[in-house]
């Protein structure tokens, strides 16, 4: 591991280097890339102890590729692998056994949930894992800080010469954006598909020029876990209230005019914000520029209604998003680098007017935690959180003031995922706070008749309702390094104490 640099400001670190040179490859005419056995590919490359294998998470909780590849590695007696999987889901629980058996000794990811996240928090690995942002992962790959020996790319559709897309086949997932850097920079690229089409594929997301093998298997995943049904606007009245307030904040900023650009999540409250913003746009006859990030059917509807001129799609969440990406020229697939890498000549988040993000905790300095739960156990990670927050003109956090009994606004977050300097507004059902750095915004909100509170007062309000929580006790061992998008270390996650 290279030396660690501490975070010292969202835009403090400047890159002074060239990109990593990629391995130059060649493929002689007449050679087939298609294989039916993963073992065969392992032997041909060959995959050996200590290598870094990378994977994308576009199949989410329906993914079967990671487990299959690791089972093959285990069977072949390979040890000491570093796994660079862009996000870890409950379906990846077998990873725990592979760690216990020495097959896997390192993990590099942007988001973890489920049993693996819990096991990591309990000290599963001797070394800390690395947690990056979506943009940071692209940066690390390009800058050579995350060298990948072999990228295994689950491909919902592939042709026999390694052109890939995510919009066809029985396990279509939409955009393959998070796999773009892996395909470009890995020494070897292995596509794994359950839908082999004749060459050349009609729609190409990842090109043949970097793909070395195409392995066909019965099924790369379970469609039910890959895309949700229809993503729904929440019906929870508290969530709706928060969403409505957030939309009013956006309107008050003055950004909601022709050319407006927007990012919001797929969660019920985030979608509800889109719902209210859409109403405002329709009422004001406003044509926005683009919506960015994880794309849902709701954003597709907004595109089709003329609320936006383009969708920039790094990840699709439902079948409507998949279908739209396949059919609509104004719905563009972008890679992780274009989406959010801070070290290129400009990524898409820089063009954002407003972004809606969540929080498991936010502190009185506006630092946000989406990495650990209030019990200290890892339950997420930045994903694109700190990327979008850094890029957007206005970053709005929407959250309940209390979740269950727990106050969400605290004096100091357990883990800093996104620094307070890139967070502008916090919207809760009981009040709105504006970062003191943004006195301009505070004034605009006041002018629009929106009551703005001090974040300390919001915190006190939560404590009056729920009581002040006792500090949780953590062990000393560091289980995860939380890397900011520029590669500096913004925080660490400690092991939970055995008492928990």
């Amino acid at each position: 591991m290279s030396e660690l640099i501490t975070f010292c400001g969202a835009f403090a670190k400047q890159p002074v280097q060239y990109r990593k040179a990629v391995r130059v490859k060649r493929m002689l005419p007449g050679i087939s890339k298609v294989e039916t056995s993963l073992e065969e590919v392992f032997n041909k490359i060959p995959i050996t102890n200590g290598m870094t294998l990378s994977f994308h998470h576009h199949l989410r909780n329906g993914d079967q590729v990671v487990n299959l590849v690791l089972a093959t590695a285990a069977k072949l007696g390979i040890r000491d692998l570093n796994i660079a999987l862009s996000s870890v889901f409950p379906v990846h629980a077998p990873l725990i056994d592979h760690v216990c058996n020495g097959v896997v000794t390192g993990l590099d990811t942007n988001y973890l949930s489920g049993p693996v996240a819990k096991a990591i928090s309990q000290g599963l690995l001797p070394q800390p894992i690395i947690m990056r942002t979506h943009g940071g992962r692209a940066r690390a790959i390009e800058c050579g800080q995350l060298p990948i020996d072999v990228a295994f790319i689950a491909a919902p559709c592939a042709d026999s010469y390694g052109n890939l897309n995510g919009v066809m086949g029985k396990n279509a997932c939409g955009s393959l954006g998070y796999a773009f850097p892996d395909a470009e920079y890995a020494d070897y690229v292995v596509a794994i598909t359950d839908c082999l089409e004749e060459y050349p594929l009609a729609q190409i997301s990842i090109s043949q020029t970097r793909v070395d093998y195409v392995v066909t298997i019965d099924s790369i995943g379970d469609a039910k876990g890959i895309v949700s049904g229809t993503t729904q606007v929440t019906k929870d009245p508290v969530g709706l209230k928060i969403a409505q307030m957030a939309a009013q904040v956006i309107q008050a900023t003055g950004l909601l005019q022709d050319g407006f650009s927007f990012q919001t999540g797929a969660g019920g409250v985030s979608l509800a914000v889109a719902h209210y913003v859409r109403k405002m746009m329709q009422a004001g006859n406003i044509t926005g520029s683009f919506a960015l990030g994880g794309i849902t059917g709701y954003m597709v509807d907004m595109l089709n209604d003329g609320c936006f001129q383009r969708l920039l799609d790094v990840q699709g969440f439902d079948m409507a998003a998949v279908r739209s990406l396949a059919a609509n020229i104004n719905h563009r697939e972008i890679g992780a680098d274009c989406y959010a890498n801070p070290f290129n000549s400009g990524c898409a988040v820089n063009q954002l007017d407003a972004v809606i993000l969540g929080a498991t905790e936010i502190d009185t300095s506006f630092n946000v935690n989406v990495t650990t739960g209030s019990d200290g156990i890892i339950m997420g990670g930045s994903g694109g959180h700190s990327d979008a927050a850094a890029g957007a003109k206005v970053t709005i956090i929407v959250t309940n003031l209390l979740r269950g009994r727990l106050p969400i606004i605290v004096e100091k977050v357990l883990t800093v995922t996104t620094p307070g300097e890139s967070v502008d507004v916090v919207v809760t059902e009981r009040g709105i706070a504006v970062n003191p750095r943004r006195s301009d915004l505070r004034q605009r909100l006041a002018d629009a008749g929106i009551t703005v509170m001090n974040i300390e007062d919001l915190k006190l309000m939560a404590e009056r309702i729920a009581g002040k929580p006792e500090q949780i006790v953590l062990a000393d061992k560091v289980v995860a390094l939380v890397e900011y998008r520029d590669g500096t270390i913004i925080d660490v996650v400690k092991q939970i104490s055995s008492a928990n």
Binding site: S374, G404, R405, L406, G467, P469, E470, I472, V473, N500
Partner: protein
């Protein structure tokens, strides 16, 4: 006096399920607490339950509490409902 086992509350979020059961003389008030916010609020929850039980003048009881993030007002109400269902009577009105 807790005469019989009785229960109040649900396992829904923001609620707490309280079960009270008779206990032997001199066993005191035993609270068996399960909570999603145990590290942060375990002590508070025990205190609130204990105060509610003491308001009934009860010296011996076994109490099982399964907490889903209830606020104090809910903990008091559920404890009181369980106690009344078990046949306990409050000493004096506040």
């Amino acid at each position: 006096m807790v005469n019989k086992t009785a229960q109040a509350g649900t396992l829904e979020s923001n609620d707490i399920m309280i079960t009270v059961a008779p206990a032997r003389q001199c066993s005191g008030i035993v609270i068996d607490l399960e909570s999603i916010v145990l590290p942060q609020y375990g002590q508070t929850i025990r205190k609130v339950i204990l105060q509610a039980v003491q308001a009934y003048g009860i010296a011996n009881a076994y109490i099982k509490a399964i907490d889903r993030g209830a606020l104090d007002y809910t903990i008091r109400a559920r404890t009181e409902a369980a106690l009344q269902r078990s046949g306990a009577a409050k000493r004096a009105f506040r």
